[in-house]
Amino acid sequence: MPTYWVIELAIQDDFPILQRLVNGHRLIYLDNAATTQKPAIVIDAMNDYYTKHNANVHRAVHTLAGEATDGYEACRDALKTWFRAERCILTSGTTEAINLAAHAWGHSQLKGRPIVLTEMEHHSDIVPWQMLAETFGNELRYVPVKSDLTLDMEAFEASIEGAGLVCVVHTSNVLGVRNPIEEIIRIAHNHGAKVLLDAAQGAPHCQINMAELGADMMALSAHKMCGPTGIGCLLVNEETFQEMQPFMGGGDMIETVTLEGSTYQTNEHRFEAGTPRIAEAIGWNAALTYLGTLDLEQQHGRLLEIARHVAQELRSMGMTVYGRHDDDDSSVVSFLHPTLHSEDFAHLLDARGVAVRTGHHCAQPLLNRLGITGTVRASFYIYNTMQDAEEFLMHVRNILERFA
């Protein structure tokens, strides 16, 4: 893998945090499904904004305000282009995006119709719908996960009748499994249901083409794709956008306010009440620029290879690995040791500079299905190398020898 090796090192250089020592050891950051690190270009873009252009956006005449507005709106445009989306509403993240979908679209459009979810969903794609169902009495139908860790598509087909919406995670944050969303969208649309994709994990790992997929709504977060915290978006197709009603009220989303009532903007600003996330938008746009310089498909292949290697090695050490690592899956490796507690494992790895996550990964229904309460999760991203993986495995072996 000589070419990989060169690319890997070049990418690592772009991420200042990787210079850091943790407990005296080189940081091996394998908690990427929780949040990713930021390349210097992203950090610098926000810096540059705050040191040269900072101002409130929209409605202002002065130069800084114009620059800030351009910067903010450029992020929206870049997202639309990147994901081939018709409308892009900037939110604080995936979670707020899904809550926005539930309130702005669901409240007025679902009219009590059933909602199809899957057992693989992140809490952020469950709780907003449970809340909506509590108010409006919608039936929630959960598509089970089979023992091979894929969705039970027969059960899905059986559950679609009469449903108004299907909410499905593009790629599972626990398993790395990439769901058959093309088929799901096709079946849902055939039955008159819209589809919302939770692309929080999908977006960082592959180039999602919303227009081609025909998805109606798609939620994602910047911080999982090299962008800053505090920003995400709900991408929506035009038809769905026109059906949405205002959610939060306030500055920037209104056209006119009188004591008797208000009228609202008709573009995306309608759903972006208050001063928006300006520096964050500028940082996210820089992240897209950065990712655009990489060959994401090649990266996907490289990382999947790492994940497969790690999964195989862990299995050979007696671990249970929860994942398939099929060609389209993400490079997440969830595992458990038969006796060593997952949190103890993470603590011990941390002592060697390795960052992994443990716990339920905000996917308790999935873990219930698997009959466990948590896993250790190592998730790989563009700046991780096979070298990281080997060192991680070495520490794991070491820990097992000393502690298991």
Partner: protein, 136 residues
Amino acid sequence: MTYPQKLAELVDDFQSIDDRMERLEYVFDLASEVNELPNDEWTDSTRIHGCQSEAHVRVDIEDENVRLYSGADSKLVQGLMGILTIAIDGQPIEIARTLTPEFAVEMGVLNSLSPSRSNGFRNMFDKVMSTLMEEE
């Protein structure tokens, strides 16, 4: 604060360990110091809240002396319980009451742990202490 001898020794031991992994290893080893609270006696009243793993403790007073029975599904957490056991198990109740969680800070144990874990330790400590305070 001056500690009971066994605890003082333990603090010294910990302070002499530089490597975090070894410090954790030591905590692991101390898991065997607990008086075991059998799994079938783990109840809501013995549960330590705020721990992400299952952790349980029961405080008895036997002949005016404190007795701790405890257990956890995480060996690290049980090791922390082992430390607390060394600190106050078998001590007269008035002496045990004077202990503060400072000793764990001094050991460097708490900063070897994640905030949630060290919160867990504090909760464990508080649970034990509040039981002691309730005793006449």
